[in-house]
């Protein structure tokens, strides 16, 4: 596979409520900024555009159609959309570059979760015959997973609290974060459990916003004269939908994707993990085989701000940004979808 360069990444602030801003107003600023950062003047300058979003967030069919209004798609453009996190839009774009149909692509993801109750909306992701009628929301499912992890005896609630302490502390350096600050494990563990064994801070906040990225062939990135990070490996896998059939303490899909993406081929010094719940960071980190020398979620991760449908793309962008800045050499980015980490994508990024 040929290397693909990430030349720009921009995300909006993670805010709990974007007010009357519609999707177009969320998308336009990040798309314009990502194009500008790549030295491009409009969407007409890229060969392919792909986005990720979810109709149910805004509560209307074809929510993504309005997204096209944010692009300036006149004359018409080569464009596609996945009803998935925009990390999978990145994957579709990466394939287009691999097959030689595009040399560059714009990817964006957006979500306005504030109009609804996200954890209830996502209970409609469940098997509509056997699971959805139970009305189990996302947090309750995650709590079941956390419970099985704690009961395995390999992890305790201090470990969970430490994930949150690190996230909040790292997020102090992330201007887009929604939650940040200095906390101690004792402080956090003094908080009441909301859905046992999870406390409020174990769960990601809910955010409105968007993120955009420009990728291209390495040749084109060189010609553009911009610094870039390189996608060395990318793979994604899904597991059975039925949580009761899975060992929730493990993530076989992360293990396979990490292997295929080449995570273990060389040392890793940074990882951005898409873990909407504190315990899931531990599960993914273990599945990736990362030790404590690896910087985990220097942005604060999604516990500091969760742009549902763009958070996976943001993880990739956060790693790329730091590699471009020279802070790290070889990083892993992770994206997830579905209840209890059902589906996962892993990327390996390196410098130019």
């Amino acid at each position: 596979m040929q290397d693909v360069a990430i030349v720009s990444f921009v995300q909006s602030d993670c805010v709990r409520y974007a007010g009357a801003q519609n999707e177009v107003e969320l998308i336009m600023p990040v798309v314009q900024a990502a194009l500008k950062e790549a030295g491009l003047s409009s969407v007409q300058d890229v060969d392919f555009t792909c986005s990720g979003s979810c109709d149910y967030q805004q509560g209307a069919a074809f929510a993504f159609v309005a997204g096209v209004d944010a692009l300036g798609a006149v004359p018409p453009i080569k464009e596609s959309h996945v009803e998935m996190d925009a990390a999978w839009a990145l994957y579709e774009s990466w394939l287009k570059i691999q097959m030689g149909q595009a040399e560059s692509a714009l990817i964006y993801g957006f979500g306005k979760s504030s109009p609804g109750e996200l954890s209830n909306v996502l209970s409609l992701q469940l098997d509509p015959y056997y699971l959805a009628p139970l009305g189990v929301d996302t947090i309750s499912l995650a709590a079941m997973q956390a419970r099985s992890l704690l009961e395995s005896g390999e992890v305790n609630e201090v470990d969970l609290a430490e994930v949150v302490v690190n996230s909040r502390a790292n997020a102090k350096n992330n201007p887009h974060a929604q939650l940040s600050g200095d906390f101690t494990v004792d402080q956090l563990l003094a908080e009441p459990e909301t859905v046992s064994p999870l406390r409020k801070h174990d769960c990601c906040p809910i955010s409105d916003g968007a993120a955009a990225m420009v990728i291209c062939t390495v040749e084109k990135a060189k010609a553009m004269g911009k610094p870039y990070a390189v996608i060395k490996g990318i793979d994604h896998r899904i597991e059975t939908h039925h949580v009761t059939l899975r060992d929730l303490c493990r993530s076989p899909s992360v293990e396979i994707a990490a292997e295929k993406a080449g995570v273990h081929d060389a040392p890793v010094d940074v990882a951005e993990i898409y873990a909407p719940f504190s315990h899931q960071e531990i599960i993914v980190k273990r599945a990736l085989g990362l030790d404590d020398s690896v910087a985990i979620n220097p942005s604060g991760g999604v516990l500091a701000g969760h742009l549902f449908m763009a958070s996976g793309l943001s993880r990739v962008g956060e790693v790329a940004k730091r590699i471009i800045a020279g802070e790290y050499k070889r990083g892993v980015a992770h994206a997830t979808s579905g209840p209890c980490l059902q589906q996962n994508m892993i990327l390996v990024l390196e410098g130019m």
Binding site: L71, S80, M84, L95, Q98, P128, H236, I238
Partner: protein, 387 residues
């Protein structure tokens, strides 16, 4: 340079108003199993699954690819879910093909479906978008004024739509999978049906169907492992434009013309009417046949209806460029699958496996899908030969 890929297996369900005998998982699995059987393969032979469907609100399941992974033998494999409005069936086939053409995968399964009986598509299409004027029109109400503009510009006779409605239902009688089976179909019957959105009558509109369509797409190296003839993918293209912009050409949209030009260039098509043996084109409302004949370059602007009226697009009348031999969207419309059915039926023709609606000796065919406010396009050219 892209690798060569071909369709080596096709599976469909019977299209009908309600499939109460199967769950959503049962529906997609039926099409997938049919495609695997057609390709002489089993689940383990598949490297990835590419799923497509129209809005999640049609069944009320958010991102159903998560729930359908078990039914589609995808556990431990990559699963991707495409959604590009009505064109999604075509887009999904193209995304699936790119998995193989990129050289990343050897053989993939792609599945699209809609189980429209789970909800009311008219409602799901018409609920208000925040901060936008509420049309509450459904698809027919949206397209009717555009069709009237086509009639005004082209001076088409008022019965051109009726001609298409009858022709595609006669085609459907040769396709046992088609939803509408109307043996008594006639111009009089169409004309007597209720006017829904002037000039569209009830029988000039597509039905609402449950159904699924699946294909196995394989790399050149593995094509011989399947028993049937392959349908080689000679070109594939997508285009999008906004729903509204100043000066937008809505009757013959720019994006459709560009998309056709792109896919024709890839497949060396210079005169579509001559170079293709047949086409499966997304015609959910009768009048879109003459309109797309022009948009896709089969006829000069303003003359698409002449082709239709002459019988050129009819299999029964021995036309030189039969369109929608399967009965088309006018006879079966499981929305999320409809685009892929076009792509798959084009492939069936060049594989010589279209049974009673086979165009004799078909070597090259066009598959076409469109969606949104006629703003999203997906097309592919398939051939009996590699190039």
């Amino acid at each position: 340079m892209a690798e060569l890929a071909a369709v080596v297996g096709i599976g469909q369900t019977k299209y009908q108003t309600k499939r109460i005998d199967v769950s959503i998982a049962g529906l997609v699995r039926e099409a997938a199993m049919n495609a695997l059987n057609d390709a002489g393969l089993v689940w383990d032979d598949i490297d990835a699954v590419i799923l497509g469907k129209a809005p999640d609100m049609f069944e009320g399941v958010v991102m159903p690819e998560l729930y359908l992974t078990d039914a589609l033998g995808c556990n431990g494999k990559p699963m991707i879910r495409v959604h590009t409005a009505g064109s999604v069936g075509g887009s999904t086939a193209i995304v699936a093909a790119s998995h193989v053409q990129s050289g990343v995968f050897k053989r993939v399964l792609t599945v699209t479906f809609e189980k429209q009986s789970e909800s009311n598509a008219m409602w799901a299409l018409s609920n208000p978008q925040p901060f936008s004027p509420h049309l509450n029109a459904g698809a027919g109400g949206y397209f009717a004024p555009i069709i009237r503009e086509y009639i005004r510009r082209s001076n088409a006779p008022s019965d051109a739509g009726i001609k298409v409605a009858v022709k595609d239902r006669l085609h459907a009688l040769k396709n046992p999978l088609a939803h509408l089976q109307l043996p008594d179909i006639s111009a009089e019957m169409v004309e007597a049906s209720p006017m829904l959105w002037d000039p569209l009558r009830f029988l000039e509109s597509c039905p609402s169907s449950d159904g699924a369509c699946a294909m196995v797409i394989a790399h050149e190296d593995l094509v011989d492992q399947s028993p049937g003839k392959p349908a080689w993918i000679q070109g594939a293209a997508m285009r999008s434009e906004p729903t509204m912009y100043a000066g937008r050409e809505q009757v013959s949209p720019h994006a459709g013309r560009d998309c056709a030009k792109d896919v024709y260039a890839q497949a060396d098509i210079t005169d579509p009417r001559k170079d293709f043996d047949c086409a499966e084109v997304y015609v959910p409302f009768s009048w879109y046949e003459p309109m797309w004949l022009e948009n896709l370059g089969f006829a000069e602007p303003g003359t698409g209806w002449e082709l239709t009226m002459s019988g050129a697009t009819s299999l029964d009348e021995g036309g030189d460029i039969p369109w929608n031999c399967s009965g088309g969207v006018l006879s079966s419309n499981a929305i999320g699958a409809s685009g892929m059915i076009r792509f798959a039926e084009a492939a069936r023709q060049v594989r010589g496996s279209a049974e009673d609606h086979q165009v004799e000796g078909a070597k090259k065919a066009l598959g076409h899908a469109y969606g949104g406010g006629a703003q999203f396009y997906a097309m592919w050219v398939v051939g009996a030969e590699k190039h």
